[in-house]
């Protein structure tokens, strides 16, 4: 009974059909994605506000369904802002217009001349509210979501956000002194309701990011990550950075191979040489590589050489023990036979050791190539100005956007997948007998 082997998609030899392989392989990835969506989705609320002017839509109101991806400034004319102490010693924030009262929740607001400026959180402009045909609703409009009503209103609600940067530093702060109380006093003199023309209102839906399971300052949502892609791709030139890192990893790998391969062969052939190197090889595997970054800088400077050599070192300490191991694993019977037939050391190496060990060594190289991507951040810690995905991650950690960190991670995963496919194809060409072995 012969087991059918299928073309492997994720680089694993299994007896599962290709289609099933893909489906099975995607399930855990999809589950992780779902989990990601789950922990980064907050509750959304819909708020009703009187018509105002959105920044960027000065002439006409935004079309229905407009999605604001950043905070947006909304100016509502002829309105006033009011802060009221609620029963539980917290502040409630209201907007008053034409005698109607709109609860603002936590949307930052500040008086701006005769109008009120709101800083709307990112969200969607749903559109104008349908007007009731007969008489305008005079009851205080409330956000129609349960959540906003029940959400505990913060104690520290503040009502203004003066944008000092627009004021030259020496103008001091008279601008901020405008106290809300005078505005409120003025508001009370406004006639209670102007029923002549009904107040135009609109609905706005936004997400309360604070209700997410994981705070957005820790983990951005998949949507945010996706939206950050264009700026990462063009402004921060992701392809160029990937190329630089790829070339470094590739060069480091080549250097490592050129050193490790002959070394392994010598160790496999001459037991004295093996005894010479073996302890070094053992210690190398235990070294915490990050601590060696400054050492490589002193040895190889701060330019490309340092990065390539650092990566080469990382590859070498991984590959050397494996190469030696595979040479060792060659069955003694073959060697004995070779010696019996009068082969010399070179012939043994060339005709017996290498042909048997090479396919395994190739597999080690294929798996080991991924190591370089693990070390890339360490390698690119020095001279961070010279591109690379490691640099991208390091700088995004410091000054954001955090979204880019995850995008780069995804990009690295995709890169890894592609390179692995290439390794696979090359392997099939080099060792055709392997794919038929089992």
């Amino acid at each position: 009974m012969k087991l059918t082997l299928h073309e492997n998609f994720f680089g694993i030899r299994t007896g599962v059909k290709l289609v099933d392989q893909i489906i099975l392989g995607v399930i855990p990835i999809f589950l992780i994605f779902l989990l990601w969506v789950f922990v980064t989705s907050g509750k959304t609320v819909t708020i009703i506000l009187p018509e105002g002017t959105f920044e960027g839509f000065e002439k006409n109101p935004p079309p229905e369904g407009t999605l604001f991806r950043e905070k947006v400034r909304l100016t509502i004319d002829n309105s006033t802002h009011e802060l009221k102490d609620s029963a539980n010693d917290s502040l409630l924030s209201y907007l008053l217009k034409d005698g109607e009262k709109f609860e603002l929740g936590h949307i930052p607001a500040r008086p701006f001349g005769k109008s009120v400026r709101l800083t709307m959180p990112p969200g969607r402009y749903i559109g104008r509210e349908k007007l009731p045909p007969a008489k305008p609703d005079k009851a205080p409009a409330k956000p129609d979501s349960e959540l906003l009503k029940t959400a505990p209103v913060s104690e520290n609600v503040s009502e203004s956000t003066p944008d000092l940067d627009t004021i030259p530093p020496n103008n001091d702060h008279q601008a901020e002194a405008a106290s809300p109380s005078t505005e409120v006093a003025a508001a009370s003199t406004v006639p209670a309701a102007s029923t002549v023309s009904p107040l135009l209102k609109f609905k706005y839906r936004y997400e309360i990011v604070e209700t997410r399971l994981i705070s957005p300052s820790m983990l951005p949502s998949p949507g945010e990550v996706y939206r950050s892609l264009p700026s990462l791709w063009s402004d921060r030139s992701l392809p160029k950075n990937i190329l630089y890192s790829f070339l470094r990893v590739g060069a480091g790998f080549v250097v490592a191979f050129l050193i490790v391969f002959p070394m392994a062969l010598l160790m496999g052939t001459f037991s004295k040489f093996k005894a010479l190197i073996a302890p070094l090889m053992l210690f190398g595997g235990y070294l915490p590589i990050p601590a060696l970054v400054p050492l490589f800088m002193i040895l190889f400077g701060t330019n490309e050489l340092q990065k390539v050599m650092f990566l080469a070192f990382g590859f070498a300490i991984y590959l050397l023990p494996l190469f030696v191991k595979y040479l060792d694993e060659v069955d003694n019977v073959y060697l004995q036979t070779g010696y019996t037939l009068g082969a010399n050391k070179f012939q043994i190496l060339n005709n017996i050791l290498l042909p048997i060990a090479l396919p395994n060594m190739f597999d080690a190289m294929r798996l080991g190539f991924g190591i370089g991507w693990g070390y890339i951040i360490l390698a690119e810690m020095v001279d961070m100005g010279s591109f690379g995905v490691g640099t991208l991650i390091l700088t995004s950690q410091r000054r954001g956007p955090r979204e880019d960190i995850y995008l780069v991670l995804i990009a690295i995963v995709i890169m890894a997948f592609i390179t692995d496919k290439i390794w696979d194809k090359v392997g099939q060409q080099l060792f055709p007998y392997r794919s038929q072995k089992r």
Partner: protein, 549 residues
Amino acid sequence: MYLRGKLFLVIMALLAFCCGALQAQEAAVVEAPDTESVTTVKEYKFVPRETLPPVQGTSAYKWDEKEKIVVFPINVWAGWLPIIAANNGFAPNEDSIFFKKYGFKVNLKLIDDPVVARDSFASGESHVLWGTLDMMVLFASELMKDSRTAPRIFQQVDWSSGGDGIVARSKIRSVADLKGKTIVYAQNSPSQYFISNLLINAGIGLDEVTHKYTSTAFEAAAAFVSDASIDACVSWAPDIYTIPEKIAGTRILTTTAEANKLIADVWAARADFARDKPEIIKGLVAGIFEGMDMLENPTTKAQAFQWMADGYGMKVEDVKAMEADSHSTNFAENREFFMNANNPTNFERTWKSIAYVYNQAGLVKEAVPFNQIMDFTIMEELEKDGQFKHHKDNYVSKFVPTTYSKVNAEAPIITQTVRINFYPNSANIYEPAHDLTGNAIANTLYDPNIEATLEKVARLVGAYDRAVVAITGHTDSSMKGKIPEKIVKDLSMNRAEAVKKALVDKYKFDAKKFVVEGEGWNKPADLDNPMNQALNRRVEISVFPPESN
């Protein structure tokens, strides 16, 4: 132009004959538009809770109401000595000031990596984030995506005072020499702010220097040592002091020993924690001030150093050697920093300088406004309580009167060239604009940017609190050969004096900090193009190391 030249001659003659009278008249004008600068301290009028972004949602930090342990990460830095003393070591314990007086415990955790500290803060594992103000500018916008993790800054812990510095090859005598050179430093760190600030102040574009970035200051120092093609590095003590000792041909260009009010170390609390537990925030602030008092006692101080050494895993003598890197800021200094709007190195100005520098460096597009981060309510309360009345602002540099020629014997650390548009022949920087017939127009300024220019100078001079500053006036050479040199020198001298007077009046600098000189037309701004008269009419601000006085 001809008319103006004629006018110039007439007024020059006038100047020569009745110099005194004119001066008196000018003095009267100088005071006019600046009525506010009479008081030394001008307090902010706004209320922090009106400008700080509101906190939304339920709090997301870890908290055990029974244990009451505030997790306060710190880095390896001498400025944390007061809180270590107040906390009776690193671990939460019942012998600390915080527990005995304010009823909560503090867990000082060594988290040296700022990114890890930030993530611990954002995830709610810790309630506090350590950092320099420039790091806060970089972190703020990301942290404010969630109103609960928005940083609130209540207290300045110290000024870096010798802890950060720039080491260069010996041929580099002044910041101006860095033009076209290669500099290495840790990106997105105080080092980057330090060097970028200096370059911008020296009028060197950030793209006129080759920048090499490392991820830590330690690596920057190592890169400078190992790579001779690098001309300067920005790093920390002790590297900045050991490199010039060990590596021939290197010298310290400048350190925060001179720029002693440039890099401010602070801590920030999570907005939701500050909202829920204002009494704990107040206890932290007060406890740190009390720690500063405790360090007056030599036994306590020795014990604090021992705790610090244990906590950092260092030797006691190494920890003691760090002491000079920073200057702890007591209550009086914090009051100046948070509440005095006139202080040239207050929170607002430091924050804005950082925002400007990082904008120029392309790191931050639009910084968060300072008043959405700074919260001086605790300082106000402590002032009302009078608990730290005995704290005096003693961090005031003393200057002995000196002369320009003495100061100028050495190369300046940095020279800032500012262009003040003086009305022809006038030394009044607040000169009103004139109509066509030459009459002054009320409530106008001939140079409308004068306040911004003074602000720029004040921020540099303020940051270099300990340094001596030379103000040199220069005139154009349009009248060369037509009038005696003496009156031109006098005019440029008067212009330099006017700048000094404005700085002293407005920002309350010690007048002895400045030396003035009138160079006349002797030093054209651009040696390749000495006739560029618009460039030549200028004032130069040079900062000299304090040793030279």
